[in-house]
Symmetry: C2
Subunit: 239 residues, 2 copies
DNA sequence: GTCGTTATCGTGGTATACCATATATGAACG
DNA sequence: CGTTCATATATGGTATACCACGATAACGAC
């Protein structure tokens, strides 16, 4: 069955207003959040995966009318997660290799700017926290628990961006992360990349601590551009 | 009267299907484009300007129902152009000074990445075209025709971004430009800034021609960050 | 006259009925 | 058996009616 639909139904059954929290969010926003999470949790690059969504089906699954569903889908379409083809259907989009590389490059641009801003504005204590993200990998090599390392990896980049303090960059990056995350899972699996990645991260942290603006920026940019180059070479399965 | 509404009406009267071109665009997309242009052409930082939109009013002005209007407004809201307050109204957003600076910083990050990519991928002839953008300013100083120079200025930055070849960056930048344009008008009015700006541009062009990746990137970033610093100092009228 | 209460209304949110048309289906004809 | 055309159906797009709720104004009590 369609995993998205089932997830959606499960979440919907949570609506009984047990405590009636200050749930002032509109149905459109709820549907938007739900669908976005569902899409993010779907392995859209699995060739088996069904990528078609059905408005009417979502209607019954969520227990709301088409209107908020359609508005939510409009937003997701604008963000590049889905595409609606008139009289054909609504489809989750698989990003092409080129698009994926462009997204990573854009990520590099934004995160390196965030690193620059972090050297200028972030507090000592905030920067210090970065090191703790990798405490658990001090003794054993990351190859032994790649799943956790992948999470810590994402957490590191997210943290650097947060350190920059630019809400605009933080927001713009969130969607990029969702798009790139699916592919990142596959690329980090090479353990040598994970090892080199840790070295890069430590150098970035040092640059941030030394408040070396240019260096932190450059290292951050290069680290992410390396990922783009890696995807370019090894991800032929992308369109 | 509300300038947006009047503009909207004028444009609407152009819909008679004289030749019935392949106008396959949905009413939602038409409304979206129309409203976006209308907002872009409005001087939202004029304290006199009415910033409230009325769904029902737009309905009659455009001659369509609320549905496509609302979907278009949803998109504009997500892009940060408007904000809808339940039971209060829909308002065009004035960006705060902080937000404006963050947008310019983001612009700097993206354009400098585009410059980097341009040194690696753009053709000689494409880069050569950049010089022609300023041909008309060779003899007379830009202070004599600031309006035209402002246009050429925007054209230059847009061209650099296009040279980068990343559709993702091109798209992300379009909205930023709309947001920043209103403020740019006011800041470029100092003629000394215009003169220095031209010098910067020429240096960027030279770096691109020499395929000096790092230099082109750095100059482009710094040029735009200078604008951010300038806005920070001189645009106290922003929230 | 001021404060509080109530009624009305304006507004965005939602549900639903309707529409247009590309695609699919199948029957009829060659 | 294959091709073609007519009909049916599914799907996204649009219009509209209804709803909930807060704001505001009108009114009344003190």
């Amino acid at each position: 069955m369609n995993s998205i639909v089932t997830l959606v139904q499960r979440t919907t059954s949570a609506t009984p207003l047990a405590l009636a929290p200050l749930n002032a969010t509109s149905l459109r926003d709820q549907a938007y959040a739900l669908l976005k999470n569902a899409i993010a949790d779907t392995d859209i690059y699995d060739p088996q995966q069904e990528l078609r969504l059905d408005e009417r089906q979502l209607t019954t699954a969520l227990g709301v009318s088409r209107t908020p569903i359609r508005e939510a889908l409009s937003l997701l379409e604008q963000e590049g997660f889905i595409r609606t083809v008139p009289r054909r259907g609504i489809y989750i989009i698989r990003k092409s290799k080129r698009e994926m590389i462009e997204m990573i490059q854009m990520w590099a641009a934004l995160e390196s700017m965030a690193a620059r801003l972090a050297t200028l504005n972030a507090s000592e204590t905030e920067i210090a926290k970065l090191r703790h993200l990798f405490d658990e990998f001090q003794n054993s090599p990351p190859s032994e628990h790649l799943g956790e390392y992948s999470d810590a990896n994402i957490a590191f980049h997210t943290a650097v961006i947060a350190l920059g303090g630019s809400q605009m960059i933080i927001d713009a990056t969130k969607n990029l992360l969702l798009h790139v995350r699916a592919i990142r899972r596959a690329t980090i699996t090479q353990s040598d990349r994970a090892a080199r990645s840790i070295v890069d991260h430590l150098k970035i942290i040092e640059a941030l601590e030394k408040r070396d603006t240019e260096l932190a920026e450059r290292l951050t940019r290069q680290h992410t551009l390396d990922l783009a180059a890696h995807v370019d070479k090894h991800c032929g399965f992308l369109g």
